[in-house]
């Protein structure tokens, strides 16, 4: 790859080193860890009502069951565990609390009201049915409108309404710009609530060394360091005695970036009973209690000039965040994101946004791959389609006109986000060519009908906010998200390399990608490098894996640490080869005089010297060991961009949408490993297809969850996902180390609008456009059988 000329390992399509283990069943997820002697199994009794006051919980029956060790309720727990308080009172934020085990009020179906400890998990579950909970049912609020209504029942009465977070911002001159427009289009775009549906539900095991009063907690989490922080805070336990390990984790997607009551309870109960405590959630637990997302409504208006320049955009976002602010991200992730992410690839100067988080008696909703961006782009691209129709412009011409050009970067958008580059036009043309847009159009009949199907094509241009550092999290008002990442790189005494990263991996290929980065610095084979993640005792402090931060920030930290080690290797080599440091190059596992094979020391020899296992001594003043620990905190945020193009067909009899062809032109800056980027995009597109066409968490009006199994919550299967063609465009960032941008979420972000636009195109003959997700067969059939307007 000519663009990567200076690199030997970065940019190589190296197969993932973790795959053999993952694919051959060699991985160990929490439930696979050998059971610790004396383990007690925890089962959780969940509130059967959405809103209620606990009168009494009678646990005597459960306690009488042979094999049951203890039953704990909130009343008995008292204040021995501090509540989760994710946000503090400050401008825009209201402080709410979540009790780990509520003693008084339950706020969603799934709130934990009692836990059982038993000798085996079957007995623990049997015991749940013997607990008698007397709960006074209270009126719940379930949907956004009900929660915002005058006199609405309050989820947390102490904040006076159901709005724990709200923010509003208007650019100067907005109203004048809006008023001067030749055309205004508007609509309300809604998205049904989603679940993350990781293959492995959450679970954890806590073990306490009673003598040392120290804890090891294995958890299926994306944020081991933040979880450790939370345990220390909520259980008042010195961090120095806490170790959190994320073993193999079967998918995260954001929901596992939150800290959950079960993790805190397992740690607490292991300490209290002096025995290991294990909890493994099942699919039902997961749907009931793992955070949901995307339960949002975007009321958007776009003002344009007669020839199609976007002049001003108004965006009012309301997000249903459920009963509690997520810990540690707080109440604002989706609402804030919905406002900030909307001005993506397009140029417009004036922006007026208002975003609110709305609490209801439903499961907490928080971050999920793409956060608010898929819906924000669905709304924005949807408005562009409406604008094109209203102004009589070609939808592609309208996009070409408004997409930011490379010469307009660096660019600060109307939401105040600075970006150093974007290849929107190049991606657009590449995607159009790859999907044969012109050929498709030429073959597409005016009424879109081919046989019993309507066919359409959709093209969406999106950005992805990646690699957010400390400054972004402080601006967003987050108290417990440090933003930076750390890495330790150590050459062991035999010359092999150990790397420990502050993140954890849930299948993203971290172990391969970071080995490639370190290999680049050290001039060794990536295969010689062992990367470990997920263990707070082994890795430096850091934030965790979420928000497409891994490659940029942990990659940056690994690069810095490995550069420091490389410098020391050069110093030692220069000393013994008696040449200048600057003349040493690190290649093929050797430090050598540039271009001279004979003038070289192997890494093994240098490691021997550094560990005092070699007759040769270290240079004067040099420390023993060959190791560095460095952190990286990039400035602000870096935007990746992509264009997604989808061809769909709709069965006119049933309204069922099928995605026939799919292309992504994708730019995530300097690529560490194109295979891994492709995997991220493919998986993301599959998830986006799920949101676009079928997925949905549903509550009834009393707050009962209707989708508690994979029978009711429909996710796409292999047969529903088309082949995905991918074109890589590489525009290195000038803001980040190595020019890397993130790639974890763009797949989802682009797929949602692209599929929706393709459906709009297929329905064009009927004049209908979609405005809510998912595009279920029934919804689409209702749009098709709607009388066509003005015909």
């Amino acid at each position: 790859m000519p663009g990567n000329a200076p690199f030997r390992h970065i940019g190589r399509p190296m197969p993932r080193t973790e795959d053999a283990r993952l694919l051959a069943g060699g991985a160990a997820f929490v439930d696979d860890l050998p059971e610790l002697p004396g383990t007690l199994h925890m089962a959780c009794m969940r509130s059967p009502v959405a809103h209620g006051r606990i009168r009494e919980i009678d646990t005597s029956g459960a306690l009488g069951l042979p094999g049951v060790h203890a039953v704990l309720t909130g009343a008995e727990l008292g204040d021995r565990i501090a509540p989760m308080v994710a946000d503090r009172d400050k401008a825009g934020f209201r402080e709410t609390r979540r009790d780990i085990l509520p003693a008084d009020t339950v706020r969603f179906v799934g709130d934990t009201i009692a836990v059982v400890l038993a000798d085996d998990p079957y007995v623990a579950e049997d015991a749940l049915s013997l607990i008698v909970a007397d709960i006074e049912e209270l009126e719940p609020v379930v949907a956004i409108d009900a929660a915002l209504a005058d006199g609405a029942v309050l989820v947390h009465p102490e904040i006076g309404d159901n709005i724990p977070f709200s923010i509003a911002q208007t650019t100067e001159g907005f109203e004048a710009a809006f008023a001067a427009a030749a055309a205004v289009v508007s609509d309300v775009f809604t998205s049904t609530r989603l679940a993350g549906v990781a293959m492995e539900p959450r679970g954890c095991v806590a073990q306490v060394d009673v003598g040392l009063d120290s804890l090891t907690l294995w958890s299926s989490t994306q944020v081991p360091h933040l979880l450790r922080l939370a345990i220390a805070e909520l259980l008042d336990w010195p961090e120095s005695r806490l170790r959190v390990i994320a073993p193999d984790v079967g998918g995260g997607f954001g929901p596992k970036a939150h800290v959950y009551p079960e993790e805190i309870l397992c740690a607490y109960l292991a300490r209290r009973h002096g025995r290991p405590v294990k909890w493994i959630g099942d699919r039902q637990d997961d749907f009931l209690t793992t955070t949901h997302a995307r339960d949002s409504r975007f009321a958007v208006e776009m003002a344009l000039s007669a020839d199609g320049d976007i002049l001003a955009v108004r965006n009012h976002v309301d997000v249903n965040i459920g009963a509690y602010a997520c810990f540690p991200f707080g109440a604002n992730a989706e609402a804030g994101g919905g406002a900030i992410y909307m001005p993506g690839a397009y140029r417009f100067a004036h922006y007026d946004f208002r975003a609110r988080s709305v609490m209801t008696h439903t499961a907490p909703a928080g971050v999920y791959r793409g956060v608010a961006a898929p819906v924000a782009h669905f709304a924005f691209e949807g408005l562009l389609d409406r604008a094109a129709r209203k102004l009589g412009l070609d939808p592609l011409a309208l996009r070409r006109r408004n997409l930011l050009r490379p010469d307009e970067y660096p660019h600060v958008n109307a939401a105040g986000i600075r970006s150093d580059g974007g290849s929107h036009h190049e991606c657009l043309e590449r995607a159009l060519a790859a999907i044969d847009h012109d050929g498709f159009r030429a073959a597409q009949p005016a009424d879109r009908r081919i046989g019993g199907r309507l066919v359409g094509i959709g093209v969406a241009c999106i950005t992805e906010h990646t690699g957010q550092g400390a400054s972004r999290y402080r601006t967003r008002g987050l108290l417990r998200v440090p933003g930076m990442e750390g890495a330790t790189v150590r050459i062991e005494s035999d010359g092999n390399v150990s790397v420990a990263i502050s993140q954890s991996t849930q299948g993203q290929g971290h172990l391969t990608a970071f080995a490639q980065v370190v290999a680049e610095s050290l001039g060794v084979d990536p295969e010689q490098i062992t990367v470990s993640e997920g263990d707070t005792a082994l890795s430096p402090f850091g934030s965790g894996t979420f928000a497409s931060r891994g490659a940029v920030i942990a990659g940056g930290a690994a690069y810095r640490a490995s550069q420091e080690v490389a410098a020391k290797i050069r110093r030692i080599a220069a000393h013994h080869l008696e040449v200048a440091e600057g003349d040493i190059e690190l290649v093929e596992g050797h430090a050598r005089l540039k271009g001279v094979r004979q003038m070289a020391l192997s890494l093994r020899e240098i490691a021997g010297i550094a560990h005092s296992l070699d007759p040769r001594a270290l240079p004067e003043g040099e420390e023993y060991g060959l190791e560095a620990r460095r952190f990286y905190d990039p400035p602000g945020v870096v935007l990746s961009n992509a264009v997604h193009a989808a061809c769909v067909s709709i069965d006119t009899d049933t309204g069922q949408v099928r995605v026939e062809r799919y292309v992504v032109a994708h730019d995530c800056g300097r690529i560490i490993n194109p295979l891994i980027v492709a995997g991220q995009v493919h998986g993301g597109v599959a998830q986006g297809l799920g949101q676009a066409l079928m997925e949905g968490v549903h509550y009834d009006e009393t707050g009962q969850l209707l989708t508690t199994q994979l029978l009711d919550y429909i996710v796409p299967l292999a047969a529903d996902v088309p082949d995905i063609a991918l074109c890589h465009v590489e525009t290195p960032s000038s803001d980040t180390l190595l020019g890397i941008k993130g790639a974890g979420e763009g797949g989802v972000i682009g797929a949602v609008p692209a599929i929706a636009l393709a459906v709009n195109d297929a329905l064009a003959g009927r004049g209908a456009m979609v405005s809510r997700l998912p595009l279920s067969p029934e919804y689409i059939l209702s749009l098709m059988t709607m009388p066509a307007p003005g015909r």
Partner: protein, 294 residues
């Protein structure tokens, strides 16, 4: 996802299974392929006291053809039926229904009798059994009765199997030459449970039997549509034909207890059933005419 405790009795023969059934209480159940029962037990939505496991009953594992019938024992897997040359040749609609049932992995374990005994409203085979006039062989210790498919299904997950009884076999009349058939369904995904479906059996004597699934708790015969089927024009798809089908269907569904769920309203189910019926009828007619040609 952990079942409540239960007694497990592996049976080696149908007689042993019947003896075990007789000795157990009313909450005992047959364990066949487990593809529906085990998930329900894991969710504790089913809590049988005992399972009579018929997976070891080799005498229930046969597909027999005799006297114009093909009979499937209770342990015949769906995949075996689907791939059987006799079934593909003489009960093509049964093979087609089995292909639509779940995935190869579930069909390798799930049984033909199991999907009938389970009686899920969205299941294909019950409707096909009604359309083809299948017969259920119900046995208890020392007794046997034959129930026509149409009388077997009582509601969602409800059949006329009584405590102590099992579905020992199901038999289908082999389809005469010049019989036509059509089977159409739609779901939320490809290869998914049906939101609505239609099975059409067209016999040479001009008898057409049509049965819908997924729209009512039990498979529903559609007599008005059956009566109308003969004089519908041969070409499917025209708006006039569609309207006549929709009208006949509406008459058949008058007063029916329509399934109405999160994923598809009763209205949607009725609407797509009409278009599916047009497809299935057209297919049936086309197959009938092909059969004539040979």
């Amino acid at each position: 996802m952990r079942p409540a405790s239960f007694r497990h009795h592996p049976a080696r023969s149908v007689d042993e299974a019947l003896t075990l059934l007789a000795s157990e209480d009313e909450d005992a159940r047959i364990l066949a392929g487990g593809q529906s029962l085990v998930p329900l037990m894991n969710l504790r939505m089913a809590q049988p006291s005992a399972l009579i496991d018929i997976n070891g009953c080799d005498d229930l594992g046969r597909i027999d053809e005799a006297g114009g019938w093909i009979e499937f024992g209770a342990r015949v897997r769906q995949r075996e039926g689907e791939l059987s040359t006799a079934v593909r040749a003489r009960l093509p609609m049964v093979a087609a229904a089995l292909e639509l049932n779940g995935h190869p992995a579930t069909r390798h374990r799930g049984t033909i009798c199991g999907t009938l005994a389970h009686a899920d409203p969205s299941a294909e085979l019950p409707a096909v059994a009604v359309a083809l006039g299948a017969e259920m062989v119900l046995r208890r210790q020392g007794a046997c009765r034959i129930v026509p498919a149409e009388a077997f299904f009582l509601g969602a997950l409800e059949t006329c199997i009584e405590p102590g009884e099992m579905l020992a076999a199901v038999r289908f009349p082999v389809q005469p030459a010049r019989a036509g058939w059509g089977l159409a369904e739609t779901g939320l995904r490809r290869h998914d449970l049906a939101l609505a479906g239609i099975a059409v059996a067209m016999l040479p004597a001009g008898v057409t039997r049509i049965c819908a699934f997924g729209i009512t708790p039990e498979p529903l015969r559609l007599p008005t549509l059956e009566a109308a089927a003969d004089d519908l024009p041969r070409s499917g798809g025209t708006p006039a034909t569609q309207a006549r089908i929709a009208e006949a269907l509406a008459a058949d569904l008058e007063g029916a207890d329509l399934v109405d769920t999160l994923h598809a309203s009763a209205r949607y189910r009725q609407q797509v059933t009409a278009t599916l019926a047009a497809r299935a009828l057209a297919d049936a007619r086309q197959r009938a005419s092909q059969e004539t040609a040979t």
